[in-house]
């Protein structure tokens, strides 16, 4: 099997993550933060160590790492917990539904005003200028919720510039880093991000069920909880405890998810995030070059600053058929709208496209096999 669906989840993990997964079952099967026996305490310690690893990775404090079950969960916590009523929320047309749907709901309930700004990757200056112009009224509350990297085509939005605009104007800045974490070095202060949300099972190499929210040291407003329940402390309190992270983490944490995610970050640190990024970019370039020689093949946003995602269609072949035929040849890609319909509309593929998402463990041979297979399919049409 050749796996090119790393934007959905990384199917191949570093060896250290398999070891961490095994260790979680063998040695850390207790409940962290519940009780004081040895097993519970060793679990609590390994969870804390994981918080430290992740906090250093994103440039914050361990208690400001909030574990979640995926990026959608983390984004719901951030959006519903930090955005106040009557806020004007600005977002882009490159968002995943994990950003859009919570915002649509808030808009429909009359809690927020929602403004979706079209992003053109060839002119990010105009995009920043438009956001800057919209965040002008000092009497109004503003928030920006934006993806770091598009899950559809891999373009990077101008997060640093938007962060500056938000900080200058006192606007809350929430970033969806699901496709960037593990591919790009992200420190919250450097990008002026208030709250970062990410899955932990993609570029961070955790198991499915791993996700997190990282809160900037400078963000000191209390987030209201998305869920209430057991926290292991303050049981007589009718409300969730005051302190992070327990105030936002109701219920038992997934130790295997947390341990594998932290091991993944350990691997990234050992390899170097720049090396990972360079390798993925090199493979992406190779595939783009190969694809450019295939007649009837359209590459979307091919010239954008993208590290690991390629989006394409072949004229005359439905994207779902293409993905199915690639699957029959042992190649995993993903077709359709990728839970981000506005991005597809912006790119000119309203009916969907095929996404190839590269990971660190892909290699040149796999890229060449993909190019040849797409070439063969495109020549034969649907008759293969």
């Amino acid at each position: 099997m050749i796996y090119f669906d790393n934007a959905a989840t990384t199917a191949i993990k570093p060896k250290a993550c398999y070891k961490a997964y095994q260790d979680a079952f063998l040695y850390y099967s207790g409940n962290p933060g519940r009780g004081s026996h040895k097993l519970a305490m060793s679990c609590a310690e390994v969870v804390y160590k994981s918080r430290v690893t992740l906090a250093e990775f994103f440039g914050t404090e361990p208690e400001r790492i909030i574990f979640a079950s995926n990026a959608t969960h983390a984004l719901n916590m951030a959006i519903k917990g930090a955005i106040e009523e009557k806020t004007t929320v600005i977002t882009s047309n490159f968002e995943h539904n994990s950003v859009l749907r919570p915002l649509y709901r808030f808009r429909d309930e009359g809690r927020i005003d929602l403004e979706i700004i079209d992003y053109d990757y060839r002119d990010s200056e105009s995009f920043c200028e438009e956001i800057s112009q919209r965040i002008f009224c000092k009497q109004k509350k503003y928030a920006v919720v934006m993806t770091f990297t598009s899950n559809v085509c891999g373009i990077n939005l101008p997060i640093k510039e938007i962060g500056e605009i938000c900080r200058k104007n006192g606007a809350l800045f929430i970033v969806d880093a699901s496709q960037a974490a593990g591919h790009t070095d992200i420190k919250l202060d450097e990008y002026k991000i208030d709250i970062l949300c990410s899955s932990g099972h993609k570029g961070l190499f955790g198991i499915t069920g791993a996700g997190l929210m990282a809160i900037n040291r400078s963000y000191n407003k209390r987030l209201s909880s998305l869920m209430e329940g057991g926290s292991g402390v303050d049981s007589r309190n009718e409300r969730m405890p005051d302190e992070l992270p327990e105030s936002l983490e109701a219920g038992t944490l997934s130790v295997p998810a947390i341990m594998t995610m932290a091991s993944g970050v350990g691997f990234i640190n050992s390899v170097g995030i720049e090396s990972i990024n360079a390798q993925e970019k090199s493979l992406r370039r190779r595939i783009c070059e190969g694809f450019s020689n295939i007649n009837r093949l359209t590459l979307y946003a091919a010239n954008a600053d993208s590290s690991s995602i390629i989006l394409f269609n072949v004229k005359g072949i439905e994207c779902d058929d293409m993905a199915l035929m690639l699957s029959e040849e042992g190649i995993c890609t993903r077709s359709g709208l990728h839970c981000a319909p506005l991005a597809h509309r912006a790119l000119g593929c309203n009916d969907g496209a095929v996404r190839v998402s590269i990971g660190y463990f892909n290699n040149i041979c796999e890229c060449d096999k993909l190019i040849k297979t797409v070439y063969d399919i495109s020549k034969k049409g649907t008759a293969i």
């Binding site: 009780g35 609590a44 926290s231 402390v233 303050d234 007589r236 302190e243």
Partner: protein
């Protein structure tokens, strides 16, 4: 209890580990402990058993590192 040992209630297990690491790094013996539901503020909580003759220094270090404690 060893002479010079005292318990500091820190509320959460996360802050208990954070405080323990900080004190151990500074050469002060500290171990994690769970306070009973009777002694805890609102039920169970976690804290650290600290072995030090200088309480003031320990509390000052906690404050300097924004670690809330309950006495």
């Amino acid at each position: 209890m060893i002479d010079g040992t005292f318990f500091i209630n820190l509320g959460s297990i996360t802050y208990a580990y954070k405080a323990q690491r900080m004190l151990v790094d500074a050469g002060i013996k500290a171990s994690i402990g769970k306070s009973t539901s009777k002694s805890g503020r609102m039920g169970c909580s976690y804290g650290i058993n600290v072995q030090s003759s200088n309480r003031d220094t320990v509390f000052r270090m906690l404050t300097q590192n924004s670690i809330k404690y309950y006495v």
